[in-house]
Symmetry: C2
Subunit: 348 residues, 2 copies
């Protein structure tokens, strides 16, 4: 079975004339006749009814023609398909992300990527940073949004920092009314709530995030009172709303718009979480390269506006999702000096 022969078949069927068909195929008539005969022999059917003066398709030939021409079209579309795949215009993208990214980076990034490459099937999967690294090495995901604190990235991975966001305190509105917490100039001193119960992820659910907070408390000489644990951001905010304790969360959590929760900036140097994109340095999917480009573009765009207003993602990025701005968040400038692959290795 030969593609060329099938092409011959279709051409002869279109022309119904061996001579003209041969001309269209840039060849002479004899080998064309032979090829058609060979094809008929191979399929054990007569495709054409030759009357020494006229050529017509047999009923069987007519049915086969429709199949074959469809097949041929798909085969001929294959180089174009390969080109699109190589450019990352079509294909698939499996992206992991930490739960906090769901409230700042992820919506903008996916929105921009989706309108730029609508033919790419994007699969999102929430995972902790270390699980994402593992999944990346195993090929389960193509890229990931992680919080890289204290992590040593494997040398086979590239990393691009995207967002620095200071944490704010989420305290029950009721505490504020009752004077249980003191807010000075719209800020909270962490020492004032040292004795209050802290709502937090269990460490296994978000080790990087967990460590940032415990380190922060430790640097103020505070041993936090763990009041309740929850594995989802929404749940943490719900617990705060119910007065079960306070929490330290990214400012972007304001987007949740939960009633009964007051978000207050922290006095002094608040803890900052960095979120960035990781992918395999070797053998990256073209769709990933396009994603990196877009992520880098977001960083530049936000970075340029960042200078004047001090604002970042929330207002700076085309207003993709409605919601509260992120006055404390700042997108990291894309690093143009990394030769398109970001840097890899020990972070922080």
């Amino acid at each position: 079975m030969n593609l060329r022969r099938l092409k011959f078949f279709v051409t002869v069927a279109e022309e119904l004339h061996f001579g003209r068909a041969a001309e269209r195929l840039c060849m002479t008539q004899p080998p064309l006749s032979q090829a058609i005969l060979a094809l008929e022999e191979e399929l054990s059917v007569t495709l054409f009814k030759r009357t020494k003066r006229n050529v017509a398709l047999t009923p069987v030939g007519e049915h086969l023609l429709s199949h074959v021409s469809k097949l041929l079209q798909e085969v001929e579309a294959l180089p174009g398909l390969a080109r699109q795949l190589a450019r990352g215009e079509i294909g698939s993208l499996k992206l992991g992300f930490v739960t906090t990214a769901d409230y700042n980076l992820l919506p903008e990034l996916i929105s921009h990527y989706g309108v730029t490459f609508p033919e790419v099937k994007v699969t999102l999967k929430e995972m902790t940073s270390d699980l994402q690294v593992e999944a990346l090495m195993q090929g389960d995901i193509n890229a990931g949004l992680i919080i890289p604190l204290h992590q040593t990235l494997h040398t086979s991975l590239s990393y691009l920092p995207l967002l620095h966001e200071p944490l704010v305190a989420a305290v029950p509105e009721e505490w504020v009314r009752a004077g249980r917490v003191e807010i000075v100039n719209g800020r909270l001193k962490i020492q004032d709530v040292a004795e209050e119960p802290l709502v937090l992820f269990p460490r296994r659910s978000a080790p990087a995030f967990h460590d940032i907070i415990t380190t922060y408390f430790a640097s103020h000489g505070i041993e936090p009172v763990i009041g309740q644990e929850a594995i989802q951001m929404q749940t943490i905010i719900s617990l705060v709303s119910a007065g079960m304790g306070f929490a330290l969360v990214p400012g972007s959590l304001r987007r949740l718009g939960r009633m009964g929760v007051r978000y207050v900036g922290l006095e002094g140097k608040p803890p900052v979480i960095e979120t960035g994109l990781v992918w395999r340095k070797e053998d990256p999917s073209p769709t990933v390269l396009r994603l990196v480009e877009i992520a880098r573009g977001l960083g530049e765009q936000a970075g340029e506006e960042d200078g004047g207003t001090g604002e970042g993602l929330g207002e700076g990025l085309g207003g993709g999702a409605p919601g509260v701005g992120l006055p404390e968040a700042a997108l990291v400038h894309a690093r143009r000096d990394l030769n398109g692959h970001g840097h890899a290795g020990r972070l922080d």
Copy 2:
């Protein structure tokens, strides 16, 4: 673009080892490597990531693999498809039929054909006999059920007579009650209704059927009084039911089960309509040949039982469609001496 190369690609992708893949393809490793390289060159993409010790698909290669393997499967299924097409097991069948056949031959024939060849798409089209012959020559239909009276079939056509059915009179029930027509021994003398209005097809709608009836009247020296014309059997029976006149129709019309209509056999030698199958002798579609076989089978089956009971299609053919029997109808014996093509030429 070469099918062999695509096959190579799929095999290497399955084995992820050029040596084993070459073995499976009954060849040595070097030409396989070359072919894969050539394919990659042709598509301008790297399909495999060779690490001198290991072979892995690139993300692009993975996506292309799914497309290519699907394509390859379809191509490899092509010989089987051709075989089925040649056997008439799949494909299409466009069948013309005269309106009268709708009440006797057509249901049985299509029912049997449909269960035997469920994969064949059957298209039915009601046409007069002469239009069917024309459509047959032009290739618009593959076969036709016609009433071949006084027609000279083109020598390129084959014909197989299938059903001889005497006409019966359809008279308004009211006429019978009122004594307007006289029925003796359940039969009607045509002379007794010579003055009554006759409901009939216009000649252009059913020339063969029309001519049989006018010839019948002429042979009895009667000039029929044309009362009303209608182009559908149902309409004719409706007009009879409304008392607008009487009609001569195939006995199978009893299936309509119309109230107010009495079907009465004709005294003496009633007119008989012959219905048969025509198809192109040259270049017949395999589906048509299967249809001819089934039609011949119906003829034989009915013919065998016909000897004792004098009955034909209605009871003789497995009771496909419920309805009144056709005591006067008789399926024609299939002619085994016609070398599988029936006869062609001038018909009576």
